[in-house]
Every structure is written in C-alpha cells, then in structure tokens.
Amino acid sequence: MLDRRNFLRSTAAFAGLSALAASLSPLRELGDYTSTEQFLQKYYKELTPDEMKKVLQRITNEVERQYGIRPHVRDLKPMDGVEFVYALNLTRCIGCRKCVHACVAENNQSRNPEIQYIRVLKMPHGSMDVEKGDHTYNDKEVPDPGYFYMPVQCQQCKNPPCVKVCPVNATWQEKDGITVIDYDWCIGCRYCEAACPYWARRFNWTKPEIPKDRLNPEMAYLGNRPRKQGVMEKCHFCIQRTRAGRYPACLEVCPVGARKFGNVLDPESEISYILRTKRIFIQLKEEMGTSPRFFYYFDK
C-alpha cells in the first residue's frame, strides 16, 4: 500500500533524478564536436603516422556529417630547406580588402560571427603610427587620396610571444617558420591572443557558422579544417596550399600584386630579390623583438 510519505518520497526522487538528467542534457550537443576519439587523442607531435591516418579519417567523417561534403584532409609536413617569408608592397596596396575575403573563403573561417585573419588599416600619409589606422573604413572608392593601406595579419614571428604563453603547447613554430595551432589541443584560455602584439589571433566564441556551399574541401590538419567553439585560430600562411607548393590565397587574389611570398632560403626566389634590393620599411613593431617573417616595403 502506497502511503502518503512513500508517495512523496518517490515523487521527489523521480523529479530530482529527471532534473539531474535534464541538467546534463547540454552534453548531448557536445557530441557535435567532441567525440571520445578526439577527447582521447594524443598530442600532435606524438602521433604515429598510423594514428594520424585515423585522426584524419575521423575529421573527414565529422566534416562530412556536419556539412555533407567529403573533404580532402591532409597532414602536410614542412619541406626541407624551406623557410617562408611574406612581403607586402605598401606602394601598391589599394585597400580593396579582396585578400580579407579570399582568406575567409580559403580557410573556412566562421561567417557569422565573422572571423577574419587580415585587417586592412587605412593610414594617413606621413605617418607610420598604427594607432592612426582605421580598419572599418567604408569608402565608395579606394584608394582614397591622402591615405595608404596596410594589411595586417599573423606576422609569423621568429620569436613568437604567443607560443611562449601557451600553457598546453597547443601552438608552436614549425621548421618552415609557420606558427601553427592544434585545434584539438587548444583549451581556449586566450593567453596567446593577449600576448600577440599584432592582434592576429581570433577566438571562436560560438560554434563557427559556414554555409555548406562555401566550404573549402581542400583541408589540412594544422590549417583550415573547420574549428569548433572555444578554440583559437589565426593565419597560417595557407598551410594547405603553401606546403603543397602553391601561393597563399590572399596573394593570388590581390589585384595589384602587392603581396609577395616565397622561400627565403632560395636565393633565386622573388622574396629573396625583394629583401635584397627593395627599401624595406619595417617589420611591424620591430621594437617588440618579435622578429616577424612579414615585411612591409616600398617601391619608390
């Protein structure tokens, strides 16, 4: 016979348990981006080729499940005798921002909220003070007389402050000079974002949103594979392209040829020619001692 006390007890127990279950329900959504395999995955540098193959397979399946497109995910290693350097011709840049959007399209950045690796600063003539730069300009026509344009992105420092502060070694500098992030290892503490003097790192505050028809299926593990909520990302010199021998996306789309990229260890490369013969204005914020692999130069 169910008396009043037992009825109340069992009701309370039932309600309490269901409330507990319900409060855990957000964990169901976690399955979208953290599988057990990913949770138990080893550190990037400790993965054997076989394990890497499995990881790439997992990413391929995850992307296919989410976007309905089967991507081509690779883990490209740095080439021997290659060190990448970027140079940007401030005389030529017209501030059209095509590089910004080519980068977003190539690297599968979130479209909403918008994540962009490149900021184009509109700067008044006669000053090199980045504080005077404006990246929200909305002119009808560019270039605006009296101004020059300075695109800023990850400078791929030789002495990167962001790597030093990472508490879990989720970001490091590779042999070819690219500072990379393992999105599966990042804990999202954003120390690197604070350490970077160039505002080059971006944080995924929410789950990134990429329209299916705009997903770039050519992916790399350390490059443009889709990120999840709560991890950092930044420019990686289009690792999926440049380690396959191609030019970065921002360079190819530049309508005026202001962007130059290449192997600085090859004396025949255009980048060596530029560093040898051109008037190099700066490595941005040189005084920070970061020694960027990104050079700004003038033609005349």
């Binding site: 109340l8 007890r9 009701t11 309370a12 309600a15 309490g16 269901s18 409330a19 319900a22 409060s23 329900s25 080439m79 017209i94 501030g95 059209c96 921002r97 095509k98 910004v100 959007h101 080519a102 977003v104 399209a105 479209r111 909403n112 909220p113 918008e114 994540i115 962009q116 900021r119 990246h135 929200t136 300009y137 909305n138 002119d139 009808k140 026509e141 560019v142 270039p143 929410t206 949103e209 705009r214 440049t242 396959a244 021998g245 191609r246 030019y247 190819e252 789309v253 309508p255 005026v256 040829g257 130059k260 290449g262 490369s269 255009e270 020619y273 530029i274 013969t277 051109k278 033609d299």
Partner: protein, 222 residues
C-alpha cells in the same frame, strides 16, 4: 499550555511534508524548464550577408592579346587593315592645346598614359608602317603578343622587378618543381592607353569588429 510531545512530532512531520512537497514541485518545475530549454537560448544572431563572389575572383580584370589567342577568342579588333589602308599610315590630329584627338572609330580608347601629352601619341608604341605590330624606341618591331617587352623598353626598373617576380602578379605555384607559376603580363592589370590602376569599390569591412563606438565614430566623422 505546553504542547505534548506527540503533538509537536505531528507538527514537525507536517512541516517536513510541506518542505518535501515544495521541493518536489520545485524539482518538477526545474525539470520541465530544463527539458523545454526555456532559457539558455542565445539571442538570434544578426544576419551577415555573404560576401559577393566577385570579390573572390582571381582572374585578372583585363585580357591581353596573348590571352585572346590562347583562349581562341575573337581577334577582329586587332585586324587593323580591315579598315586602315596598308600604304598610308593614318595621320595624327591635334587640338589647339596640342592634345591628340582620338578619332571617332577609336572612341573607346581613353588616352591617359603619364602626366603629359608627349606620352599620349599613338606612334610611340604602335608601328606606323605596320599597324599590326609595335615599334620599340630603338627601332625593333614587336608582335602584339610581346607587349610586355614593349612596356619594358621604357619602364626599365619595373621590367627588371617584373622579371624577378617582384612587380606584378604571379598565380599558381611558388615551388615550380611541384607546379606551374603563371606570371601575368603588364596589360593584364594595366590598360596600356591609361595605365594607372582605376579606383574601385572595396569589399565589405569587418562586421564583428564594428562595435557601436566605432560605428558612431564612422557616422560622425565627416
């Protein structure tokens, strides 16, 4: 009058039951709220229109004669002797300020090569005696497809930079052992008759970074 122990036990068990009942109702309410996801919905995100695909275009905005030949496209514009007479070169006419008058038939050409009129003369580059070729200042004749060398005959430093890859656009592979690098010609980016790169509409600026303060600044600064 003091309550008897049994009466006080009855009161306390009543209180316990009320507490348990209230707790039960609270739990049920919470369970309903959690299951129904009544809160925790973030406000709907502001829609950001996708960027126009024209801004992602990598092909150069102009086609050179060599591109037209490669693409097997219409070359009738380059058939000079369809209209001109082979024996007598068309004369140049000038207005009162000795500015070249572009003839009606070539109205699509806007002359704007350099800052003074000395550069805006047809026969600086086109060959008077054979209109379907160029002439270099040193007397050499060049085919239409070799226009870059013609530009280089005056613009030495830029031509040297272009040859080294430092001026102009290159698409494809930086590592030529893995693929082809395609170096664009002068006329892919510059209109030879008015070589200055025209101004253009910039692609949209950053949404997320456009904070209210920045929007205010943008709206209030002239």
């Amino acid at each position: 009058m003091e309550p008897t122990p049994s009466a006080s036990a009855a009161v306390s068990s009543k209180r316990t039951n009320y507490c348990l009942g209230a707790l039960t109702l609270g739990f049920i309410g919470l369970a309903v709220a959690f299951l129904g996801n009544l809160w925790g919905h973030p406000p709907a995100r502001q829609q950001i229109p996708p960027v126009d695909k024209a801004f992602l275009e990598k092909t150069p905005w102009r086609k050179t004669y060599a591109d037209l030949v490669r693409g097997k496209e219409d070359l009738s514009d380059f058939d000079c002797y369809g209209c001109h007479d082979k024996k007598k070169p068309p004369p140049l006419r000038f207005d009162a300020h000795s500015t070249l008058i572009v003839p009606e038939e070539h109205k699509d050409i806007v002359m704007g090569h350099g800052s003074h009129n000395r550069n805006n003369l047809c026969y600086n580059c086109h060959n008077e005696s054979n209109l379907e070729t160029f002439q270099v200042r040193d007397g050499r004749e060049l085919k239409f497809a070799d226009s870059t060398q013609l530009c280089g005959s005056c613009h030495g430093p830029n031509y040297r930079d272009w040859e080294a890859g430092a001026h102009g656009r290159i698409n494809g592979y930086w590592n030529t052992s893995l693929g082809e690098a395609r170096k664009l010609d002068c006329a892919n980016c510059h209109n030879p008759h008015a070589p200055r790169i025209p101004t253009r509409d910039p692609a949209p600026g950053p949404h997320a970074l456009r904070t209210p303060v920045m929007r205010y600044q943008a709206e209030t600064t002239p």
